[in-house]
Symmetry: C2
Subunit: 216 residues, 2 copies
């Protein structure tokens, strides 16, 4: 980590991040990027923290595919580390989890019960407000409608894997020094972790498909 | 599985699936849903296979968040089971994996090498065309830019978990009778599996965060 501070115009900020100047101005207007320090009535200069924030914005919106509105929510939480890591992680989860509205049917009630039982079996402490509950209930309803009950039998294996990975990830973040780095790690891990696992799953699937369907 | 065949008008098809009639007509025009059997010059009737296909379309586009164009590609592959399961799975993967264009930088080359080494370490047989290679390289570049190298150290744990889950999933599909069911399972598993794992990860994260950051 370089400790000297740098000062640059918006053009230099653009050059060093590959983000076009009009896009940087848009992020400034939308409040995702804090204003620079005014050096004259129409010029501002930017520092190391702007460079870092701009990279984080790109990570959330490009690799993480968040909308600008969702990225702003996450960044607002990042800027309030005093709320505690657990709270910041909650906001990041809300921003990246699809909001699903429960449906008043017997199938839905049965799926919700199945998710609750799974949570209990794995001994997870999870609040009723976690948006993933409804997202999972919807997936269970869909898989059952499609008569894919054998895939639902894999849920516990998937949950055990998710549990191990979440623990390893948060333990790595807990080892970091400083609150800012921990908060950033929690956010980045949540948002980019999904894409990382999906990508690895594609590679592993091709290999498994080759072994199971092709090579015999 | 009911073996008697059913016949219904488009209105009944709509009622039984919750999909509005104009949306069904759109799917018919776009070739996602095969035409019904004409019973007069402006009336058609639909059967069990339409009901099933319509549910699959909804699963891909709603729970799986595929575009109509991506869903059509997947369904075209589903309708060519003679190509073999391995090929159908490849098409499903293409449709659900973000297409990332490699960049000609030293950082990108280093990230691609890291992905290749990971694939070799896990003994995976993966073609150079698998779109997840570039998607993963982009994530590695992003994580390194954000100085999240400690999260990159978890990649092998994530890969091992992805390998176990992919093997369990494809083994379950291989146990099914009939090609059509296997093909549908491969597609549904690929598309909905990501959302399933993401949802379980959210629940496990809240629990791990509670244990690691709150409760001590």
């Amino acid at each position: 980590m370089e400790t000297y501070s740098i000062h640059m115009r918006i053009g230099e900020l653009s050059k060093r991040t590959g983000v076009p100047v009009p896009t940087i101005k848009y992020y400034l207007r939308e409040g995702l990027l804090p204003s620079g320090e005014l050096t004259s009535h129409n010029q501002a200069q930017y520092g190391e923290e702007h460079l870092r924030r701009l990279k984080l914005i790109r990570a959330l919106t490009e690799a993480g595919k968040l909308s600008v509105a969702a990225a702003r929510e996450v960044l607002t939480a990042v800027d309030r580390p005093a709320d505690g890591l657990h709270a910041v992680l909650g906001v990041a989860q809300q921003a990246v989890t699809p909001q699903v509205t429960p449906v008043d049917t017997a199938e839905w009630a049965r799926a919700e019960r199945q998710v609750d039982e799974l949570v209990a079996r794995h001994g997870w402490q999870v609040t009723a407000e976690n948006p993933a509950r409804s997202a999972l209930a919807q997936l269970v309803v869909t898989l059952r409608e499609l008569e894919q009950d054998d895939l639902l039998e894999l849920l516990d294996d998937y949950a055990a894997a998710a549990g191990r990975l979440a623990t390893a990830e948060l333990a790595a973040i807990a080892r970091r020094e400083g609150v800012a780095g921990k908060v950033e790690g929690a956010v980045v891990g949540t948002v980019l972790g999904d894409a990382l696992i999906a990508g690895l799953r594609r590679l592993a699937q091709e290999d498994a498909s080759h072994r199971i369907f092709e090579a015999r």
